[in-house]
Symmetry: C2
Subunit: 256 residues, 2 copies
Amino acid sequence: MATAKDVPYHLIYWPGIPGRGEHIRLVLEEAGAAYSDTAFTEGGIGEVLAFIQGETPDDGINPPVFAPPILKHGELVISQTPNILQYLGGRLGLVPDPEKDRDGLYRVNSLALTALDGLSNEPHDCHHPIASGLYYEDQKPESKRRSEDYVKNRLPRFLTYFERVLRSRSSGEGPWLYGGNLTYADLVLFQCVDGLKFMFPKAMAKLEREGEHAKVFALHQAVAERPRIAAYLKSPRRQKYSNGIYRYYEELDIEP
Amino acid sequence: MATAKDVPYHLIYWPGIPGRGEHIRLVLEEAGAAYSDTAFTEGGIGEVLAFIQGETPDDGINPPVFAPPILKHGELVISQTPNILQYLGGRLGLVPDPEKDRDGLYRVNSLALTALDGLSNEPHDCHHPIASGLYYEDQKPESKRRSEDYVKNRLPRFLTYFERVLRSRSSGEGPWLYGGNLTYADLVLFQCVDGLKFMFPKAMAKLEREGEHAKVFALHQAVAERPRIAAYLKSPRRQKYSNGIYRYYEELDIEP
């Protein structure tokens, strides 16, 4: 098989923003996996565009993909953030061992999907509530209104949910969401909290100060301190937040 | 194990709307699986509310869930539509056989996630662009604007993508998205097209008439003709569209 263990992973994602690709990078970095990344390869953006404009050859094996992130691994080409995370999580030891906990991977997937919905997709829609194809500047009043609702209602609700998960017995000992061991869902939640601190600093500082979501913030810290993640965060491979999912607009930095 | 093959599935979802639960029902119905459904059980809504209000006991195995649909199967409790679909798809023969096509399930999952994103979540946001916690009546001008963009840009783009998938060699012979066999991704796309026909009848009729997405509409028809699905669609278990994901508002039925 061309997808043998030593074939490097290849991430196809927009250069210049962490974006959804960042969830994939964190899994690869935590596992110390060999990978290449169009964010840092000559002609990388051309590779992204070829995929989404449908210029990639019909290889008879892989369906066309709609949007990045895209993962190539040997002959396999797959898209969709949670799908790529599952694939990598299973190969790189970031899901429960199915021999010991047969359905644990579905529990982990529930958690990752919920974090991506509420703490990544919804923040994106805070600056693009009307149309992803329009500029932010063309939907500013609507963005303000949506962000106010998000900061007041949705953000605390999702953080309260994850705090409840972390306090449940199913989370096991230690700082992680499920079963006492680090999974890719923890890396997803880290990245979401990290991006939200950049996007809504006032609201996130207040929530952190109040202490009701202490375990969520502690998880963020615990991931940041993982040796490989700490090294990655200091490296040039960790791109700065800019015009991706998590953006800073002063007028959207709602006072909660 | 409590999750033996003959333990019935239990779907926990809001009564009165097809909603996201409908994707789960279609998989169960196509497979002829034994299941119960809070839409049709005494006190069903109480069961949904107990979960989302955090009143369900911490069983030490399953993390709390954020929102329905929720699937109980023996001891297992999982949430998130694409996650439940994967779990059921694997058990009920609606994913490629991993012995013959090891990574086919990830390709199918890409397709299902893309349909859910673009043809279910985005339509939902057409009538709730500002806040899911507000009434439609409180966000009518924004809904109009978002729906216009959706019908003009996003809807044709997603249908064009799925048409491309259906015309690719990876779809194999016959009407299905991947590998020549029915998978849960086909059932997802069926439900999306079906709901969109209800929500945006003018736009969908025009797209169907123009014939550029003939294979997408043919897939919708082919699923509707599956014997078990045909029987289900005629049964009282198939709930009418109302105030769920796919809603009909005359002012949002955009002339494309």
